[in-house]
Amino acid sequence: MEHIISVLVENKFGVLARVAGLFSARGYNIESLSVAATLDPTTSMITIVTVGDDRIIEQIMKQLNKVVEVLKVVDLTETRFLDRETALIKVHTKPEHRDEAIRIADIFRAKIVDSSSTTYTVEITGDVDKVEALISLLKPLGIKELIRTGRIAIARETTRTASPRREPALLKN
């Protein structure tokens, strides 16, 4: 099963290498990884999407916790959470496809952030289903280049009435 793990670490050089090295040395998967400083500039948040059975995930959590510079490890998949990913998609647009590309982007509330005579660059933010749905619709037009950020995730506040975890892609912004 897929798990999204948030790892709060000391914002020091070499920490990311230690965390990534731990995954490669022990044969764990990294599906995606994103890192940036948090509000506190002395710490960074690493969000790792990984796949494994319960035993492997338990080991991953424990191994991460064991790293001296790791401050906190949370498996977000055990709680209610929001996850988002941004993708930049450069799509070929023949003259007869330019309107279609705009229509598709509109439906997904994606933005066209760059344009040339033969391409549009579409920016989309959403959960994985939404990003993938857009990609699959743009594919027939011809995707020239695709860049994805990897997922970031945050736990939902428990006091709020949360929306269901997986909504249909089209209804969600």
């Binding site: 670490v9 230690r18 424990k62 191994q63 064991k66």
Partner: protein, 592 residues
């Protein structure tokens, strides 16, 4: 007054109570060495190879429980200690390794003797740091010692660039360490501890399985109490040997691949397994799906990653084993069950184990023409009355020593377990002898392992360290040869050591006493003479190249399905039957 990085380094080590540092100098650490030679509190031991320094520091640490310290230069100095770091990481040995680094402005330029010390050592250290600013040096050293020796111990590497050792700053040594990401759990969960105590009272066929964690946590007294209060037999891993007296009636010795028959049978049929500071290594469990199939499992370990890593645990307890076992003992003592009742409950189980023991005791057949390695270990054990600190190398001799040298005290058994590093034993013995100059330190080794770090003979000679090296010389990489005989139809690929040095002359060249026993009837006299000698001794004892180590659980086999002796087809081959072997042609198996 401001101090240089090098002065801060020496002063910090002095504050940490460091008495001995092992290593080798080089360009970028010259400033540190310059300060080191001008003070008297810390002795520097110049080794002849950095790997030797690393294993000496390990031997020192294993024998004392304090951090072993090494200081080497950048580049090759650092890469040469990697084996020692990896060994220490696997066996949880507290080491603090200081490596030199090129000046900060040169880092990344492929400078002379530059290596990515932190990058290379990352997967084989508990923690490592590159100190980029002299103002961080004292704090980093304090933290390094704390991390290395606390929790599950392990090696920590501190990388010091040349300019940091020269730069000056105000020196203030921190009193204590507080790391927000590192806080080992000491006391176990009370509920879990209570549950464990209940299971222990109930169990009919319990076993205590003790690993190296009991040694590091000084839990020998607690383990013994637990065993004696509850009349539960104790088995030890290779790393755990000494944590429970090998001569105690409840001791079942070592378990696992070369554990005794009765020990592995008892493991297989136990109904409660109490794992104390052990990690269910594959050499212990054999085939996991058939390991202790009937047992409820209590697993006590300070490292949460050791729990449920390879094997399930019904009652996991994260905590320091000394503390947790002590608490379990307190609960057990407070319960009313009297001693006679417990004895009666356990009697059938202990009787069953006794029967297994009678059926297949550890045995070998001594020969009058060629010495059996087991005989040498037994004699050595008899002669030293288990008072010695024993360091071993890796291979058959190590397993024979584990089976026949039944140590009674923790920290007297120094061996490379997890990594299985040939070449560990001799430098480790030197390290232990530095820590305890007046105690008897034995190095049980073989010609294969010994040749990997024999350059350190000069250190023993120079410092007049009375290390007694007992070299079981069978002319082959014995364990490799054994596997080739058992699983590769006796094709001795690269396991026969064709040409060997004359070890007596070698000892002589280094100015130490060399003795040799070629025939079985010479062994005892040589051992006696060697043990009596005041200085270092190298005893070259020729042993049977074809002796195999049994019992043996073949790799991936189930623990109760042991091989107890050579299989029939191998015996036939020995008589000159099935296949021809290089060794049969007399080609260089034994030195002339």
């Amino acid at each position: 007054m401001k101090k240089t990085g090098a002065e801060i380094f020496c002063e910090s080590l002095r504050r940490e109570g460091v008495k001995t540092v092992f290593g080798l100098p080089g360009g970028v650490v010259l400033k540190i060495f310059d300060v080191l030679c001008q003070q008297k509190d810390i002795e520097f031991v110049l080794t002849r190879h950095e790997q030797g320094a690393a294993h000496m520091a390990e031997g020192y640490a294993k024998a004392t429980g304090k951090a072993g310290v090494l200081l080497v230069t950048s580049g090759p100095g650092m890469t040469n200690i990697v084996t020692g770091l990896a060994d220490a990481y696997m066996d949880s040995v507290p080491l603090v390794a200081f490596t030199g680094q090129v000046s900060t402005d040169l880092i990344g330029n492929d400078a002379f003797q530059e290596a990515d010390n932190v990058g290379i050592s990352r997967p084989c250290t508990k923690h490592n740091v590159l100190v980029k600013d002299v103002n961080d040096l004292a704090q980093t050293i304090k933290e390094a010692f704390y991390i290395a020796t606390s929790g599950r111990p392990g090696p920590v590497l501190v990388d010091i660039p040349k300019d940091v050792s020269i730069a000056k700053t105000e020196f203030k040594y921190p009193d204590k360490v507080s790391l927000r990401g590192y806080n080992p759990t000491i006391g176990g969960n009370k509920n879990q501890i209570n549950q464990a105590a209940e299971e222990i009272m109930k169990a009919k066929k319990p076993m205590i399985y003790v690993g190296g964690g009991a040694v590091f946590s000084d839990a020998a007294a607690e383990v013994r109490q637990l065993a004696e209060i509850t009349q539960i037999p104790v088995t030890m891993t290779l790393m755990g040997l000494g944590s429970f007296p090998g001569t105690h009636p409840l001791s079942l010795g070592m378990l696992g691949m070369h554990g005794a028959y009765w020990t592995n049978m008892a493991m297989h049929y136990c109904d409660l397994l109490i794992a104390v500071g052990a990690r269910f290594d594959d050499r212990v469990t054999g085939k996991l799906s058939e390991f202790c199939p009937e047992a409820r499992v209590v697993h006590i370990d300070i490292d949460p990653t050791s729990i449920k890593k390879t094997f399930h645990a019904h009652i996991p307890i994260v905590g320091d084993v000394k503390t947790v076992v002590g608490e379990i003992n307190a609960i057990l003592r407070s319960k009313d069950g009297n001693q006679a009742e417990i004895k009666a409950l356990r009697a059938p189980w202990l009787k069953q184990i006794g029967e297994w023991k009678k059926a297949h005791p550890l045995s070998y057949k001594q020969d009058d023409k060629i010495t059996k390695p087991q005989y040498v270990i037994e004699k050595l054990y008899e002669l030293t009355k288990h008072e010695a600190i024993v360091a071993t190398d890796v291979g058959q001799h190590q397993m024979f020593a584990a089976q026949y040298f039944r140590g009674n005290k923790p920290r007297t058994w120094l061996t490379s377990g997890g990594l299985g590093t040939m070449g560990f034993g001799f430098p480790a013995a030197i390290g232990a002898q530095f820590a305890f100059p007046d105690r008897l330190v034995l190095c049980i080794t073989s010609e294969g392992s010994f040749q990997m770090n024999l350059q350190e003979l000069v250190v023993a000679a120079e410092h007049k360290l009375p290390v007694k090296i007992v070299l079981l010389n069978n002319g082959v990489h014995g364990m490799v040869r054994q596997w080739q005989d058992l699983f590769y139809e006796g094709r001795y690929s690269a396991s026969v050591l064709g040409k060997l040095p004359d070890f007596v002359k070698l000892a002589d060249a280094y100015g130490i006493l060399g003795l040799r026993a070629v025939k079985p009837d010479e062994v005892e006299a040589v051992l006696k003479e060697g043990l009596k000698h005041k200085g270092p001794v190298l005893m070259d004892i020729h042993t049977d190249p074809f002796e195999n180590c049994y019992p043996m659980i073949p790799a991936g086999g189930a623990q109760h399905e042991m091989m107890l002796e050579d299989p029939p087809e191998l015996k036939l081959a020995r008589k000159g039957g099935a296949y021809k072997r290089k060794a049969d042609e007399g080609e260089g198996v034994l030195p002339a």
